[in-house]
């Protein structure tokens, strides 16, 4: 598990890698309600969904352990989605605690990533994970700003796909952290040259942390506003 404690003690991230993750090897970590949802999913969707839930529940468990000095069984709370994901419980006391959390989930291929924090100290968290891929030029032009595209086109060809994937992930994570998702067009989001600053419509936006990583052909981003 990766615990992102570099800049914000109260944001916790977790990573699930399906090949090596023992935590979600079976369905025992799912709450009864989650188990019901899981059974309705197609076979193709089940693995992605499970990885996202696995990372999310581990991140929430870490936060609860750190902030509230309690780690309830992971089957006692559940992540719901169908819009921005949130975490709740059938136990009203725990549900009240969980209502103070803000959560983001992402999955791609063999990776599930999650970050959770507290609503009272952040303005939102966002994560994204994507496999590094080859982009069509027209796709890159459609989501990079003019400055980003210039940097992209001046790079060595071998570095371009990683760079474009990284920028996509940062933009996607920022959109999630704002709660707007794809409603915020990626071209409105401009990433600084050092990949540590974000501007929206030309105005610099404050961030608590922006963590990016490249691992086994994947780019992962965790962002806390």
């Amino acid at each position: 598990m990766h615990e992102d404690t570099m800049k914000s003690v109260y944001s916790y991230s977790a990573l699930c890698t399906s090949r090596t993750c023992e935590y979600c090897a079976d369905d025992a970590f799912l709450s009864p309600a989650e188990h019901e949802v899981y059974q309705t999913l197609s076979q193709a969707r089940k693995r992605d969904w499970r990885m996202g839930r696995c990372a999310g529940k581990r991140a929430v468990a870490s936060l609860l352990a750190h902030i509230y000095s309690t780690t309830p069984p992971v089957t006692s709370f559940e992540i719901r989605s169908g819009g921005p994901p949130y975490v709740t419980s059938f136990d009203p006391v725990l549900a009240h605690v969980l209502d103070t959390c803000t959560l983001s989930l992402a999955h791609s291929g063999e990776r599930g990533l999650a970050c959770v924090s507290l609503k009272r100290i952040t303005r939102g968290v966002g994560v994204d994970v994507e496999r590094i891929r080859s982009f069509r030029v027209e796709t890159v032009r459609a989501f990079l700003t003019a400055d980003e595209y210039e940097r992209y086109s001046q790079m060595e060809v071998s570095l371009r796909d990683t760079y474009a994937t990284r920028l996509w992930c940062i933009k996607e994570a920022y959109g999630k952290a704002c709660g707007s998702g794809i409603a915020l067009h990626p071209k409105r989001i401009s990433i600084g040259e050092d990949l540590s600053t974000i501007s929206v419509d030309g105005a610099l936006v404050p961030l608590q942390s922006l963590w990016t990583s490249r691992e086994d052909g994947y780019i992962m981003v965790t962002l806390v506003r």
Partner: protein
């Protein structure tokens, strides 16, 4: 607005080409989430439709789309608007 069969066939072709899934079973009822859970693929789909129909789709349009049938309706609307 009723679906034009020719437009539906064309939309299905663009989806299959863009997602590199020539045998993908498609129907108007299929949700975009079922189509692909990959946000980049969905964005590539958007740019493919923009190229095919020489239009700029707004994000408000995209957000309103939930199913493949919504895309067909949107393209049908574009074509009738152009006519």
């Amino acid at each position: 607005m009723e679906h034009d069969h020719a437009i539906e066939t064309e939309v299905f072709r663009i989806i299959r080409e863009t997602l590199h899934a020539p045998d993908m079973p498609l129907s108007s009822a299929l949700s975009l989430a079922q189509l692909s859970s990959d946000s980049i693929q969905l964005f590539e789909l958007l740019t493919a439709f923009e190229r095919a129909y020489n239009t700029k789709t707004t994000y408000e349009d995209i957000v309103a789309m939930r199913t493949v049938g919504d895309i067909v309706s949107y393209v049908t609307h574009l074509k009738h608007h152009d006519a």
